[in-house]
């Protein structure tokens, strides 16, 4: 698998559905309330976000007014829809013109499937907070979802799908809770190169620490990148041995998104006092926890319920591991494979040679607009 450094991410959807709001909450540390200040996006706003040192997301936030959309579908079609890694299409659940929304979606889907057949497609049905009280079973969401899957199937049939086109994935979201982090983590997770390698290392580290889980977060967005053991959104019945033994079944399925939300909130408070969050350790109930920086762009969380484990031991292990974990994120190909997990990994060739464009701001560069 070759891993191009730059991934083009299209953010589309009708005007006012909340595209720019979510982008600001995830990538620019806005709180949900701050997004009230945002105005309409005019045309396409491009921004680049560096992730884990090696991966750069090119976000194309496409203004959603009909005039712009018509433009995207005609004169700008090639520019917009070629080489897309991911399309994120946002719907407003409260929209009263669902039929019209669907028609535009179908056009865009068609254009995308044609120009970038391998692109992943994610549909986020936003503003769920506004309907959840009247419709706690989310019937409306399920209806919309099946409509969307129907449209997707029609488009794929028309294009004589040869199996390279993935079925779209649908998430209910709200900028007011952790569902937004859930959706974006899932998207990011599919874009990270060598993810299985990272997972393998986390699992090894977890076993070494006698822990329940070791989880990796991106340091600025605090989106979860990977976790040890069983896959990120697997069913509670598919947990691995270590997780079951340590009571992993009891855990909240949404915990990582909630952690993203909690930590980002706290980071924001700290920054008001000109301080930066820099890791914590804790002991409570049966748990021993650390949440510490692992590399420049990641944080690691390790949780153990083994009574013998002290935070100091966890910290020591993390410290030892960080030197090797840094290598994954570096732009250099890994040449000296000292690590057993790496040596036996077939897909390993973490080479990111192409990222030399200085005009693109990295995450840690100072931003003029903030």
């Amino acid at each position: 698998m070759s891993s191009p450094a730059r991934k083009k991410v299209l953010l589309m959807g009708k005007s006012g559905s909340g595209k720019t709001s979510m982008r600001s909450v995830i990538f620019s540390n806005y709180t949900a309330r701050d997004t009230r200040r945002l105005g309409a996006t005019i045309d396409v706003e491009q921004s680049a976000v560096r992730f884990l040192g090696g991966l750069v997301l090119n976000l194309w936030d496409c203004g959603g007014q009909n005039a712009f959309v018509d433009n995207y579908l005609s004169s700008q079609k090639d520019t917009i829809f070629s080489n897309v890694a991911v399309l994120i299409y946002v719907f407003d659940i409260t929209s009263t013109e669902w039929e019209g929304d669907l028609r535009y979606f179908e056009d865009i889907l068609f254009a995308l499937r044609e120009n970038s057949p391998e692109a992943g497609i994610w549909v986020l049905i936003n503003k769920m907070d506004l309907v959840d009280k009247e419709d706690p079973k989310r019937r409306k969401y399920e209806e919309r979802k099946s409509d969307l899957l129907g449209v997707d199937e029609r488009v794929r049939k028309e294009l004589k799908d040869d199996g390279i086109r993935e079925v779209l994935r649908c998430f209910p979201t709200s900028i007011w809770d952790e569902s937004l982090y859930k959706a974006w983590s899932s998207i990011i997770h599919t874009l990270i190169p060598n993810i299985s390698l990272i997972t393998a290392h986390l699992t090894y580290l977890r076993d070494l620490c006698l822990a329940v889980e070791a989880v990796l977060f991106e340091s600025d967005t605090f989106l979860v990148i990977a976790k040890s053991g069983s896959p990120l959104d697997c069913d509670p019945t598919d947990l691995d041995e270590m997780e079951i033994e340590n009571g992993g079944k009891e855990l909240d399925q949404q915990r990582f998104e909630k952690i993203s939300e909690i930590i980002k909130g706290f980071k924001k408070t700290s920054s008001r006092n000109h301080e930066q969050y820099h890791g914590f350790e804790a002991k409570f109930d049966d748990c021993t926890v650390i949440l510490e920086p692992l590399t420049k762009s990641t944080y690691i969380m390790i949780i153990s319920v083994d009574p013998r484990v002290e935070t100091g031991a966890l910290l020591y292990n993390v410290h030892q591991a960080s030197a090797h974990m840094v290598e994954f994120a570096s732009k250099l190909p890994l040449e000296q494979q000292k690590c057993g997990i790496c040596r036996h990994n077939k897909e390993l060739k973490y080479a990111v040679g192409t990222d030399q464009d200085d005009s693109i701001l990295a995450w840690d560069d100072p931003r003029p607009d903030l």
Binding site: R33, D129, K133, W176, D177, V212, I244, E245, N246, G247, G248, E250, L251, D252, R255, K258, I259, I262, I263, G265, F266, T269, S270, R272, N273, E275, Q276, Y277, H278, G279, F280, E281, A282, K283, F284, D285, D286, C287, V289, I303, V305, D306, P307, R308, E310
Partner: protein, 418 residues
């Protein structure tokens, strides 16, 4: 919650004093929450004392009748939530049994807040004349909807209007205005006012006006940030007789441990009960309040996991588990016996209830450039948060935790006496 109370009960029993039963409300401090329709009375109570998330606030119904909310904290509370058409004669108990009045005023309703202020002043004057020792707090609520500048202007404007209305209040009318109401209680109340206060006398009225104006504590609040908890913190502190004692203990601890600040929290509500009161700023209390709630939210995600029973190795050996029971924070706490040997005369103390193996939580967070926030749990309902330099933390952690055991004993002893 009950632990706190029963502990008070048990330790006092040894001193053979009578103790109010828990189901009896007479030992609770009563707080009366008043306000205009939809001003946010219920939200102010529920989001803090019943942990209802702020996003559910828009769905609260209208309060139809008086609701009493019991809350056990360092001081047991009973908060009375009232409907908007509340009148004093609807209370089943005399107003003199209340310690505090909280008036909630919706800041965003420019068109009606003058009426709301009038009503507040009317109620306040009556309540004050019946119970001069009562404390008044005004929560100027829903501050999140206004922009920063406008907010400050409004806040000042409301305070000014309130003071003016207190000055302009027709005090004499209280003596003869009960012709409209034939309620016996009201009549009685007004008679009492007439007996107690000479409202014809300019000087008395002047004194009342001055007291009222200076008595009101104003707080700008919002369910979306910590200002509401800060406001409640002032309400609770007003009712804590032991506050100066606890504060001086905290001050002692803080200075001896080279820490910057200490905050004693009520864990469940996240309200600050006492601080060392040095260089305290709003930003700081906001930060520690948010710190506590972040940590508790985090803890909630993981507190249920534990090792499953059949373990392959000896890790569930009771001895190791016992050691684990004393997290580094309060390890020294394992010497309660030693302690009681010294005071052999006393038949028993609070430490008899102490479970040395109880796994109190402890936490520390590092912030760049050089601050550390550390937390220790004191009782199931109290936690101490200390703010200090990171290098102090690294160099003196042992000393700090040693000092902490004494602070902890001190605070708990004060509690058991009250």
């Amino acid at each position: 919650m009950s632990r706190n109370v029963s502990q008070v009960g048990e330790s006092s029993k040894t001193r053979s004093t009578s103790v109010p039963k828990r189901d009896d409300d007479s030992h609770r401090q009563k707080i009366l929450v008043l306000g205009w329709r939809k001003s946010g009375k219920t939200s102010c109570i529920k989001t803090v004392f019943q942990n209802v998330p702020a996003r559910e606030v828009p769905y609260f119904g209208v309060t139809q009748k008086i609701e009493k909310i019991n809350y056990d904290s360092i001081v047991p509370l009973q908060i009375w939530d009232t409907p908007s058409n509340f009148e004093l004669d609807q209370l089943e108990v005399p107003i003199s049994t209340f310690s505090t009045v909280v008036y909630v005023l919706d800041m965003q309703q420019d068109d009606s807040y003058h009426e709301s202020i009038l009503r507040f002043v009317h109620l306040m004057v009556k309540i004050y004349l019946l119970n001069p020792s009562i404390r008044f707090h005004m929560f100027i609520h829903k501050s999140e909807v206004l922009s920063e500048d406008y907010r400050g202007e409004n806040y000042a404007e409301i305070q000014r209007t309130t003071s003016e209305e207190i000055e302009d209040f027709p005090y004499k009318s209280l003596l003869n205005s009960n012709s409209t109401s034939n309620q016996h209680q009201q009549q009685h109340a007004n008679n009492t006012i007439g007996d107690k206060w000479d409202l014809e006398d300019q000087q008395t009225v002047g004194m009342i006006i001055n007291t009222l104006i200076s008595e009101i504590r104003y707080s700008m609040t919002s369910v979306h940030d910590v200002t509401l908890r800060d406001a409640w913190s002032r309400v609770l502190q007003g009712g804590m007789e032991m506050l100066p004692a606890v504060e001086s203990l905290l001050l002692d601890f803080t200075s001896h441990s080279s820490a910057d600040n200490s905050f004693l929290f009520d864990i469940n509500s996240g309200v600050i009960l006492a601080t060392d009161n040095r260089h305290r700023t709003d930003d700081l209390s906001e930060q520690v309040t948010e710190y506590l709630s972040s940590f508790l939210a985090f803890r909630d995600l993981y507190k249920n996991i534990k090792k499953q029973k059949p373990t392959s190795n000896g890790s569930s050996d009771p001895k190791t588990e016992k050691e684990h029971g004393n997290p580094n924070g309060i390890g020294n706490e394992a010497d309660p016996e030693e302690e009681s040997e010294e005071d052999n005369d006393e038949p028993g103390g609070w430490w008899d209830d102490e479970d040395p193996d109880a796994p109190w939580m402890t936490q520390s967070t590092r912030l760049m450039p050089n601050t550390t926030l550390a937390l220790w749990q004191f009782t199931p309902y109290l936690a101490l948060v200390v703010l200090l330099r990171t290098e102090t933390w690294h160099a003196r952690r042992g000393t700090i935790e040693y000092n902490l055991t004494f602070l902890r004993q001190g605070v708990r002893e004060i509690l058991s006496v009250v």
